[in-house]
């Protein structure tokens, strides 16, 4: 292998693009996915505010977004993306579709994490006369925090690999570099380096996530 063919400036830019895309997407995914997940948990049958119609609707939206292939989602969302941020190409243009793909995924994980919280906690709160908002904010979410962080880590890792497909809209990033130069142009060196960097990035993310989970589990 001839490592001198590598353009480190290009690779550096790809790292920046991947981190920017996945980072901003993860932020907005949590901002949107957490309330959505909580809403699904609360409206489910036998929970705090059962609303079977609303639950079915939320569940349908989540399943719809999770089942549309990402590249199709990229294209379907072009008008919305342009309306939101003014462009549908480049790193910025990749963030809304990434969020649209990841937020429902995170919401479903949030719903599952909340279901795992001991129902006794909720009952104790109700017995003490707590309001529903108080139960959610001061009992359910703090109790579920380690699980929510673990779910965010899983989502972050998924976003790193989703971001590889953002190359279709000129988002760039490591995955795009690996596909276009490593795979399509047989530049094995580029493939090796970009894939190694992606693995490293995912490892770092998982390590940081695990540390956070551990930290909040001790209490």
């Amino acid at each position: 292998m001839n490592w001198s063919v590598l353009d480190w400036h290009e690779i550096g830019q790809a790292v920046v693009d991947t981190v920017t895309m996945s980072g901003f997407s993860l932020l907005f995914t949590i901002v949107l996915g957490l309330p959505l997940g909580v809403a699904m948990f609360l409206t489910a049958k036998g929970r705090l505010m059962p609303q079977s119609g609303l639950y079915a609707l939320l569940s349908l939206v989540v399943n719809f977004l999770r089942s549309v292939p990402f590249v199709i989602l990229l294209i379907l969302m072009i008008p919305l993306t342009v309306w939101l941020i003014g462009t549908s190409i480049g790193v910025a243009g990749a963030v809304p579709p990434l969020v649209a793909a990841a937020a429902p995924f995170y919401a479903r994980l949030v719903e599952n994490v909340l279901r795992e919280v001991d129902h006794g906690v909720v009952e104790a709160c109700l017995a003490m006369g707590a309001r529903r908002r108080q139960i959610v904010l001061f009992a359910l979410l703090p109790e579920a925090l380690p699980g929510l962080l673990a779910a965010a880590t899983v989502t972050g890792v998924a976003l790193v690999s989703y971001s590889a497909m953002a190359g279709a809209i000129g988002g760039g990033g490591l995955g795009d570099l690996a596909i276009r130069y490593g795979y399509q142009r047989f530049e094995i060196e580029v493939m090796v380096v970009t894939v190694a960097l992606m693995v490293l990035l995912v490892q770092l993310l998982q390590w940081a996530g695990d540390r956070l989970v551990l930290h909040f589990s001790r209490r």
């Binding site: 590249v71 549908s88 190409i89 279709a168 000129g170 276009r180 399509q184 142009r185």
Partner: protein, 260 residues
């Protein structure tokens, strides 16, 4: 009465014997537009004593294999860069006889009317797969927007741009996405098939269109041993006739342009 019938029979027999003596020429071709163009010249060749047999392939390797192994006489589906690459990797020596048509790349814009209006720092979207990146960059170079380190390298990448005087921001996007983002970029270099599907008419809407001298002209391809045979020469002449030019221009309305 009897005499009349006799004459008719003689004529028929004569025609049949001519038909038997007509030379058969087999040609492997892609369905559109290649086979359609060949079907158009078939009657012309029949008058010249060549029975043209068109065999449609939807694959890009078999037509060359069949010709190289002498099972088919000639083929018509590829351009020179593809032929070069094929000969190089398969150890064959197939040769181009005449160029016939180009399915041209065009530079399109919703914001600009002329290429001279391109501002410094403008954004240009091009396809992102290797063959199309090279082709798009060549068109940009020929239009004077950039220069390439090696203008004859059809696999140039954005790394091979030698100068970019207007400091253009060249973005590589999925080819099918280009017409869909035309509103958001200053220029886009788009394959004709995708332009047509997005209701862009190459001859009307493109600021610049690849012309017949493009390296990507589709060729009639033969072997060294038959490229000068009378039948192949007749086919070549028919494919480059004014009638075919007219047929291409009328039928494909700029989506396919004559390359002769």
């Amino acid at each position: 009465m009897l005499k009349k019938r006799h004459i008719l029979l003689m004529a028929l027999l004569g025609a049949a014997s001519l038909g038997l003596r007509a030379e058969t020429l087999t040609v492997a071709a892609s369905a559109v537009p290649h086979a359609e163009i060949l079907e158009f010249v078939k009657p012309v060749l029949a008058r010249e004593g060549v029975d043209l047999q068109v065999k449609v392939f939807d694959d890009y390797v078999q037509p060359n294999v069949q010709v190289a192994e002498k099972r088919i006489d000639v083929n018509f589906f590829q351009h020179q860069p593809y032929l070069d690459k094929y000969n190089q990797s398969h150890g064959t020596n197939l040769v181009g006889v005449v160029p016939v048509h180009v399915e041209p790349f065009g530079i399109y814009s919703h914001k600009l009317k002329k290429l001279s209006q391109v501002q410094s720092g403008a954004t240009i979207a091009i396809p992102n797969d290797p063959a199309n990146v090279g082709r798009a960059l060549l068109l940009l170079a020929r239009s004077g927007l950039i220069t390439l380190k090696n203008p004859s390298n059809i696999f140039s990448t954005t790394r091979d741009i030698a100068s970019n005087p207007k400091n253009l921001n060249i973005r590589e996007l999925d080819a099918a996405l280009l017409p869909r983002v035309l509103d958001q970029v200053d220029l886009a270099v788009i394959n004709t098939n995708y332009a047509l599907e997005a209701k862009l008419l190459p001859t009307r809407d493109a600021l610049v269109l690849e012309n017949g001298t493009s390296a990507y002209a589709n060729l009639l391809v033969a072997r060294p041993d038959n490229k000068n045979s009378p039948a192949v020469k007749k086919l070549a002449a028919a494919l480059n006739s004014p009638a075919v030019r007219h047929f291409i221009e009328q039928k494909y309305k700029g989506a396919v342009v004559p390359a002769f």
